[in-house]
């Protein structure tokens, strides 16, 4: 990558795997559990968080020298709230059905620990370009997990992907359903999302022993 120095590339690739915000830092779990029953919702949520984090990190980074440290949390909240309201309005205008599925969880991006965490830990101490890359990287790390979880939950729970039936029709008994297969209702419940995230964490740590902490 000619565009990015080696150090900058690491800002994007690190959070994808070895420093993943969900599986390693265990942040942002609530939304990962709540909205991953459908793949489409997870993808839209990921894009929303990508936008909020990318822009938010740049804004905070630009303002980092003028924000008094005593009120920095409030300043961060205002920035992130503004961005989330933009996302919310856009979704309501162009994807109303979906915004109803996501319901309160778009608003709750404000309290997503990953965002506040990156503002605090990175954007307040780095320039706008590096902050932007860091925001994008972490949001992508979040997105990867959301999409994996959403993929398995929708496939096994409803037998569809992005709303398209891929395993056959459960009522007409075609495809897999004709030999007695049935959807796993447990997959649609939040506890199963926690278990799927847990399995991802398990697989990741058994592949890379350095990640195991005592």
């Amino acid at each position: 990558m000619g565009l990015l120095s080696k150090k900058d590339t690491k800002l994007i690739t690190d959070p994808l795997a070895d420093n993943n915000p969900i599986t390693i830092q265990v942040l942002g779990i609530c939304s990962a559990l709540a909205i991953t029953a459908e793949l489409e919702a997870s993808i839209v949520m990921s894009i929303s968080v990508l936008f909020v984090m990318g822009v938010g990190n740049v804004v905070i980074s630009l303002m980092r020298n003028i924000i008094p440290s005593k009120i920095r949390i409030i300043a961060q909240l205002i920035v992130v709230a503004t961005l989330v309201i933009i996302v919310d309005l856009v979704l309501k205008a162009f994807a109303y059905e979906l915004s109803k599925t996501l319901s309160v969880f778009v608003g709750l991006i404000i309290t997503n620990c990953i965002i506040m965490g990156r503002f605090e830990a990175f954007a307040l101490g780095n320039g706008p370009w590096r902050s932007f890359l860091d925001g994008i990287g972490n949001a992508l790390g979040y997105a990867v997990i959301l999409i994996i979880v959403g993929f398995f939950r929708e496939l096994l729970g409803s037998g569809t992907l992005l709303g398209i039936p891929v395993l056959g029709d459960p009522i007409e008994k075609t495809g897999l359903y004709s030999i007695g297969y049935e959807n796993n209702g447990f997959m649609l419940l939040s506890p199963m999302a926690l278990i799927v995230v847990g399995i991802i964490i398990w697989v990741q740590r058994s592949r890379n022993k350095a990640l195991i902490e005592d």
């Binding site: 049935e182 796993n184 209702g185 447990f186 997959m187 419940l189 847990g198």
Partner: protein, 408 residues
């Protein structure tokens, strides 16, 4: 040279092989190994984990055999092909026909449960390089006894994999698990495939098939496959079932949990051999009776009218809660699991009491879960370490006080 020596030599020869834990598991199933502990303190006792497990299985076998006969009996009774048995030794109960249905429907459940569960155990033992643990022996026997007879085998297999891996292996295997694996398997089935685990069809073999045939346009009478609890929950009358039938167990239900008589025999056997804790069994029953009495009191005081949807189960005389549903089976075989139960004696009383108490509460208040025993036990499994902690701390505090008084 006997077989034991041959096997031992074989083991010595293949010491470094990866599959050795698999061989050891089968070897120690047949014989005590020749090695003894070399150093450190150790307790000399005739019963190791495997003997303990075997004892529980022996206590379960009567329930399984009874369950096989009952599966066939309920099937033919629902079809109207045989007379009601009228008691435990009824002529139409212990017949070859009934047994054949049992062999055809129940044995596959046992085989799948053991086959899949032990396969998972062997795979984990070989990957992790430790000995195969015996924990699954009892779980594998319990699982077929707590599912409806018509459950599809692949669902059972999926649930067993889930239960053994998520319920046990992720915590470090036998002895480390927080939740009872057999109940984890049942909970998975219940939430994943509710149409096969609850409702008024699945408890009698053939009822689901008959339903599908009717839906396909055949002119047949529907068979009811409802449990007594389900009937109570819908406030329907229970004509034709007498309490002795419930006690002997010739009623629809999960495969092995219906016969209260055989469960009590099993319980006495477990208490006599000191494998099961009588404290937990007794306190669970007390808890259930207390909750039942409270509900009876509510009905007697007139706080709830007979139009309420809870009226049916609330007005059940408190002692009858013990003979409908699976509270006894849960108390004797599930709650007493030494790994997931409380360890302290005082803790066992609290733990058991709350299981009974919460079971009946769920049973009455949540019509979606006509049987709350498995949920109550899983819930208390989670709280068992907390209970123990406070019991131990209480003890420490009391003794500290005594020490201070002495010193002063």
């Amino acid at each position: 040279m006997g077989l034991k020596q041959n096997l031992h030599n074989f083991k010595e020869k293949n010491k470094d092989k990866k599959w050795l834990p698999g061989f050891n598991a089968l070897f120690t199933f047949l014989y005590m190994p020749n090695e003894t502990t070399h150093n450190g303190t150790h307790i000399k006792a005739a019963d190791d984990l495997k003997r303990t497990m075997n004892t529980v299985i022996m206590a379960l076998v009567p329930c399984l055999i009874f369950g096989m006969f009952n599966a066939g009996y309920q099937h033919y009774l629902a079809l109207g092909e045989i007379e009601s048995a009228n008691g435990f030794l009824g002529a139409s109960f212990w017949t070859i026909d009934n047994l054949m249905i049992g062999v055809w429907k129940v044995l596959p459940l046992v085989i799948v449960s053991y086959g899949v569960g032990l396969a998972v155990e062997f795979v984990f033992a070989i990957i992790k390089g430790h000995e195969v643990e015996e924990g699954y022996l009892v779980t594998g026997m319990l699982v077929p006894l707590i599912v409806p007879v018509d459950i599809p085998l692949w669902m059972l297999a999926v649930a067993v994999i889930f239960g053994v891996v998520i319920g046990k292996e992720v915590f470090g295997g036998t002895g480390m698990n927080i939740l009872n694996p057999a109940l984890t398997i049942r909970a998975f089935l219940f939430f994943a495939y509710p149409t096969w685990m609850s409702g008024d069809k699945v408890w009698v073999h053939g009822a689901v098939e008959r339903d599908q045939a009717i839906a396909a346009g055949q002119n047949l009478d529907a068979i009811s496959g409802e449990t007594l609890l389900g009937a109570y929950a819908q406030n329907s009358s229970l004509a034709g079932i007498d309490y002795w039938d419930m006690f002997w167990g010739i009623i629809p239900g999960s495969v092995g949990e219906t016969s209260k008589f055989l469960i009590i025999i099993g319980a006495l056997f477990l208490i006599f051999t000191k494998i099961g804790s009588w404290r937990i069994m007794l306190s669970t029953i007390i808890g259930a009776l207390v909750m039942g009495l409270i509900f009876n009191g509510v009905v007697d005081a007139g706080w709830i009218g007979d139009t309420s949807k809870f009226y049916g189960l609330m007005s059940v005389p408190f002692w009858q809660h013990l003979i409908i549903g699976s509270i006894l089976f849960g108390a004797v075989y599930m709650a007493t699991d030494p790994v997931t139960a409380s360890q302290t004696n005082k803790g066992k009383w609290i733990y058991g009491f709350l299981i009974g108490f919460i079971s009946i509460m769920i049973r009455v208040f949540n019509p979606a879960y006509p049987e709350g025993v498995f949920l109550a036990i899983l819930l208390m499994n989670v709280f068992a370490p907390t209970i123990d902690h406070y019991v131990v701390q209480g003890n420490v505090k009391r003794r500290m006080k005594r020490l201070k008084v002495k010193a002063a």
